[in-house]
Symmetry: C2
Subunit: 205 residues, 2 copies
Amino acid sequence: MPDGAPKKTSRIQKRNRRLILEAALDVFSRHGYRGATLDQIAAEAGLSKPNILYYFDGKEDIHVTLLSRLMDTWLDPLVAMSPQGEPVTEILSYVQRKLNMARDLPRESRLFANEILQGAPRIAPELTGHLKPLFDEKCALIAEWIAQGRLPPLDPQHLIFSIWSTTQHYADFESQVRILMGPEEDPHARASAHLRRMFEAMLRV
Amino acid sequence: MPDGAPKKTSRIQKRNRRLILEAALDVFSRHGYRGATLDQIAAEAGLSKPNILYYFDGKEDIHVTLLSRLMDTWLDPLVAMSPQGEPVTEILSYVQRKLNMARDLPRESRLFANEILQGAPRIAPELTGHLKPLFDEKCALIAEWIAQGRLPPLDPQHLIFSIWSTTQHYADFESQVRILMGPEEDPHARASAHLRRMFEAMLRV
DNA sequence: GTCTATACAAAGATAGAC
DNA sequence: GTCTATCTTTGTATAGAC
């Protein structure tokens, strides 16, 4: 492409790839990698199975494409935790953003959960390459806040694990939560209040 | 069986059923229901595939048998939370028992996580029948402690969710934790100290 | 009770017409 | 680019000998 010619991805191609990835997110998040079938994805996308394979090299290609494209969105709330802000506020806001994400993007949460649960066979490189540096950076930030006496002495790594697990629980274990809570007027609001209280208590110097 | 005749389960039958369930726990917890194959289970159990199907009616039969047999063990730590004890001690002990369980029985944790994650299709009745009543009972106990002023006003249901999620995280998301923590001398001890501090802070009146 | 051989179904992928 | 038809592999389950 010497003269900067476009990659020739037509409008219809973009649309179909988007349709496929949207359907795949649905199916993979509900059934896991092995449990998902191309037939289901094709049916949900409203395309034929061979047509799916015209746009992607195969089932695994669809899966890794999905995971890669969603990784940035998934990490956004942590990226937004800023050295400029007030420590307790920053962390409590992070908890809220993460909980909102579990509410708004439960399929994405379950997609990642399925993959990690089975040993992260297809996403380990992304974790090492993208998540780990970000994780280390934010742990260092929290450690600095502690050193400055702006946070009580706590374990930055395990604090982040606790934030992840408590918030994602509402997406990943939604079926169990629903069975145990019964019909609830506003489940998100109660969870939000609970987590704010919990982490507030923990972060008090 | 009028005269109380034994069910005629020979020693070898018991042994083989045990071998199969042990192998199945391994395979199902690593790959999920759909991802697991009878070939793998047979290979790990050291038996032939048809022999597996002599002892169980099929793949699903093995799976539900596993889940049912493990349910009691799984709920033990919560059952042990006693009205007689001191509230804060009882809850902190529960956290520790649950964390120990994630360390000692990670396969069981992942088996349940896989099932819940996919909507609990095969275990919903057990959840409704066994887990729900126990959950309600313990929520009522915590609510009583709060009413007596022995605990701060917190949300019993979400407190239990937070305990489950933070402790099981170390089993269910072990692959991610390992990538992020690197080689660790005693990961369990650090997690244990962190969770004790966190829930202690939260439970302080 | 256990095995070999095999039936049967599901699912990933390809061929080739249009 | 999209389809129908089909190949191939894999996986659950059964038949029947021993």
